[in-house]
């Protein structure tokens, strides 16, 4: 028996999107495979690593732990739209300038978590940045230069 489909309507990166999806479809897979928005990555599938982080209704969430049907009516923003058509936004530029990137697989999630940290704390100290970054795993950098970039971007804003 084929899975029944559910109609969802949502806004993704400022564009209205309608789709018929099975209840089982994860939001991450919907973004990556149905919409070809591959910035969010699939690493752990259990909310441990933050590589699939996106903004949903103004807050960062793990898109691997959300069903597409659950996102019905929501407003999503993915890494692809963070700079709103500009080359790089301040956070992204800070990641480049502070040498925060190595392999880059965790970086879209890190950049978005950096945005959330500024939203929540304004000008956070390094310990606060580390606290709130702990849902994003990086295997390359040891986090120090990522903390540097977020601290700088927060100061600048």
């Amino acid at each position: 028996m084929a899975n029944p489909l559910f109609r969802i309507s949502l806004t993704i990166n400022g564009q209205p999107v309608q789709a018929d999806v099975p209840a089982t479809l994860r939001l991450l897979d919907f973004l990556r495979y149905d919409l070809d928005l591959t910035g969010a990555k699939d690493v752990c599938g259990e909310g441990e690593c933050g590589a699939c982080t996106i903004f949903m209704d103004g807050k960062t969430v793990n898109s691997c732990l959300i069903l597409a049907v659950e996102a019905d009516g929501s407003e999503l923003m993915t890494i692809e739209d963070l700079s709103h058509g500009k080359m790089l936004n301040e956070m992204q530029q800070a990641f480049v300038d502070y040498h925060s990137v190595q392999c880059g697989y965790c970086i879209p999630g890190m950049v978005l978590s950096g945005e959330q940290i500024i939203k929540d704390h304004g000008k956070p100290d390094r310990d606060t940045i580390r606290e709130d970054l702990s849902g994003n795993i990086c295997r390359c950098t040891g986090y120090q230069k990522i903390v540097d970039a977020i601290e700088f971007a927060a100061d600048k804003r």
Binding site: G45, N62, I117
Partner: protein
Amino acid sequence: MDFRTISPQTTEELLEAIKQNQGKHFRFGAGYTDLIPELEMQMENGLIVINLAKLKDSNFTSIFLSEDGIRIGALTTMTDVLSNKHLQKFPVLIEAVESFASVQIRSVATVGGNLCTASPAGDVSCALVALGAVSEILIANGQIRTVPLTEFFTGVKTTVLKKNELLRSVLIPHQKSAERILSGFIKIGNRNSMEIALASLAYHITTDKNGIITSAGTAVGSVAETIRYTESACEFLLGKNMDQLSEEDKETFADNVLKYANPISDIRASAWYRHQVLWNISKSIL
């Protein structure tokens, strides 16, 4: 993984969905932070998920002050708890939420989800048990019944909830006015964040102006089949002077906490470790 979802928007629709599906295999979905990995592992077929994410009922979704205490809706998220001004006077709860998972998970994981998952390691559940909170359960016929959280958990991942019921809210009863509060949450893990507790201790103790302990609530996590309220440890403290506890008193308190521990050994830690560390941290809080 194969299932259908129903997304009720009102309490009436919700109750109807529960009634309609009594003969079927269904589960509730709220924050989904545990549900999706579980479904991926188990590949249950024919499952119906009653999705609570769209429910618009403030009893479920809000935190508010009432005559009998502070009521936390089951669908309030961990982020909501952290930012609520009424709840700041319970450091045990705030610390438990802060130690819980990540920013991303806290913004979708719900208080009700943490309780109904009934994990012996539930951080927020442990804090609520220490605070003497009461569960308020909505029955499909529209009535409410209440069960103290000390009796809410019946085993690993099981609760008193029946198939025609769901958790609507928890009530933290008003506490006696206190001169001093000793309140906190200690979570022991194998790393400094994003951990499932190897052992945890929630405590909320109040004294009068002379330092006499007037109320004590302590609960332990990850050391038994369920979160346990450590009643005899709490009773032991009542009436004692907080500032004059002897080394022996502190050890008797820790011994009493341990009466509720019956830990297992697993890949995270041995029963021996959980036992020993719980005793050590219990003694250390006084």
